[in-house]
Symmetry: C2
Subunit: 342 residues, 2 copies
């Protein structure tokens, strides 16, 4: 009569239970929880008491269905092995841990197809916001993002044509700055070694090339790359390859810090003096660069900050505050260290 069916949910209190106990309507409970300002002080207290007593927790699934909006941030990164993305994720996480938003994440494995698949999985859920790494989405992914009906933040890079918002920095400028630094320090036969060669790596390479050409130093044989995923081990191998191909090498700009570390270790092993015989520059400035012996010059990238700011922008957009400039360039910083101090 009262309960036509044993409750499927397993007997957890519902909003109706709270409403009954507090002697108010269910809607008022809903409002008291979501927009306390619209409910009088008295009722709010009464309702809070009922909530506490019953241990009521709103059902996020019912909420999502009724409001056509899930309290979920979807986050797409291309890799979990690469600690750079772990840091972005950490920034995202830390900025969201006060809120009731949950984080759902997807690993695209640097694949456009996989990214499309994941967007198709995330979309129907109507997430509160989407944060995706990179700016080179496939046309299908782009359309999925545009029609997602929620704020979208592309992170890690900036570019001219945001789907919605962007937070990042210029990899091309970073690559150029690193290379110019080495040229300034007197290196001439500067190699580029890079793994994975995703779009961001490509742009770092382009920056390297621009700097080298501007100085009249570019030589295609100085470039050693592979699509294989980056690792310290691979860094060592690539460095050996580069040196074999070009024995007069006097410096290397590495795609990232893992590669740089591998190169450094190989120098140790082969008794090549760093920075005297060969200079080394990394990219990202992981913690270990400072500590390495010799310490390694690198480009500090604002990974954690990118995560934090992307969330801040998304939350502002959810609250209806569109930023004046949807594209934010957080820049980077050259950290000169022993490995290029000739």
């Amino acid at each position: 009569m009262t309960k036509p069916r044993s409750r499927r949910g397993g007997g957890r209190p519902t909003i109706a239970d709270v409403a009954r106990k507090a002697g108010v309507g269910a809607i008022t409970v809903s409002r008291a929880l979501r927009e306390p300002g619209r409910v009088s002080e008295d009722l709010r207290r009464q309702i809070q008491a009922a909530v506490d007593e019953l241990g009521y927790l709103p059902d996020p699934n019912a909420r999502a269905l009724a409001s056509a909006r899930a309290e979920v941030f979807g986050v797409l990164v291309p890799s979990l092995t690469n600690s750079v993305f772990a840091e972005v994720l950490r920034g995202i996480y830390d900025s969201l841990s006060d809120s009731s938003y949950r984080i759902q994440f997807g690993n695209t494995h640097y694949s456009g197809l996989e990214e499309e698949r994941l967007l198709q999985v995330f979309g129907p859920q109507r997430p509160a916001a989407l944060i995706v790494a990179g700016i080179d989405q496939t046309p299908i992914s782009r359309r999925l993002l545009e029609t997602a009906g929620c704020p979208v933040v592309q992170v890690m890079e900036t570019g001219p044509d945001p789907v919605d918002m962007m937070v990042g920095f210029s990899h091309l400028d970073g690559g150029r700055a690193a290379t110019e630094h080495m040229i300034e320090m007197g290196y001439r036969r500067i190699g580029f070694i890079g793994a994975r060669m995703d779009p961001r790596s490509q742009r770092r390479l382009a920056g390297y090339r621009a700097a080298m050409e501007a100085a009249g130093l570019f030589d295609a044989r100085l470039v050693t790359t592979t699509p294989v995923p980056s690792s310290v081990t691979l860094g060592r191998e690539l460095f050996r390859d580069a040196l074999a191909k070009m024995p007069t090498l006097d410096g290397v700009f590495c795609n990232n810090d893992d590669i740089a570390l591998g190169a450094l270790f190989e120098c140790h092993r082969a008794s090549i003096a760093v920075p005297k015989t060969i200079g080394i520059t990394g990219f990202n400035d992981l913690d270990m660069m400072e500590v390495a012996f010799p310490s390694i010059t690198s480009i500090r990238t604002p990974r954690y900050e990118i995560g934090r700011l992307s969330v801040a922008m998304a939350l502002a957009a959810i609250a209806g505050q569109r930023p004046q400039d949807p594209v934010v360039d957080l820049g980077f910083e050259l950290r000169c260290r022993e490995s290029t101090a000739r």
Copy 2:
């Protein structure tokens, strides 16, 4: 008349649209999608055609509400900076990417309170399974896990009293094995240096102590620890502290590989011969241990495999297949390298 209200959802096709187009009942569409075996070949084809034509995607929120079960795996890890957990996450992710399960993750920051909060956020959503790192949950967290109404896998460690299932290895045995190896290699004044000192680090320390005591070598002044989060930088500092405290040190077993790398770099910097003057052993066996110069002895831990197996066990449990043994010890492996080859 037909549509009493403009559709809140924004006009995406619903199951009713598919049913109408295929000329069947909504329930049959639902069944065709979830348990194809229970629908005749003919209708299945018809329904599939309608689904394709409309581009129908089921609404996961509605599904979750109606079935009191969300297609979500909740994953709780204590850190994102520590690449060990990134690897576990990767294993979890890779095992789930074929399925329609989504992954929601939480970062407990090594805090029991934060873990409780996150479980309280995850619970009401009725996830399909929960994967949590560690076995030292607070009583409240434990109860939340027990009453979650879904499979629970505790990962990274094994222990006697699983909430439900466990996948991991013995950190105590790992610590002991590393220490015994150093003793065998002729080291005597072996220090332990450790950061963070979470429960797993504590057990590695206990293993170290057991081995040292068994050999009559233990001395409390050999132990240098800090609750500060681990990093390569910190490894260097701790190593210096340890050496200052105990100048006769002839070896160190490091809490983890970051610390070991910091110690190695400090040895380079201070011109301390490794492995001759001081031996170094790490823990986890990250990629870089093999490449370092000298290469660093470490304990290989099955991080990725833990992630994969935890998902496999959870999926089996969801399918109703309880494992014969709910606790799986994946073991570890000592990798002897140059840093302890005296």
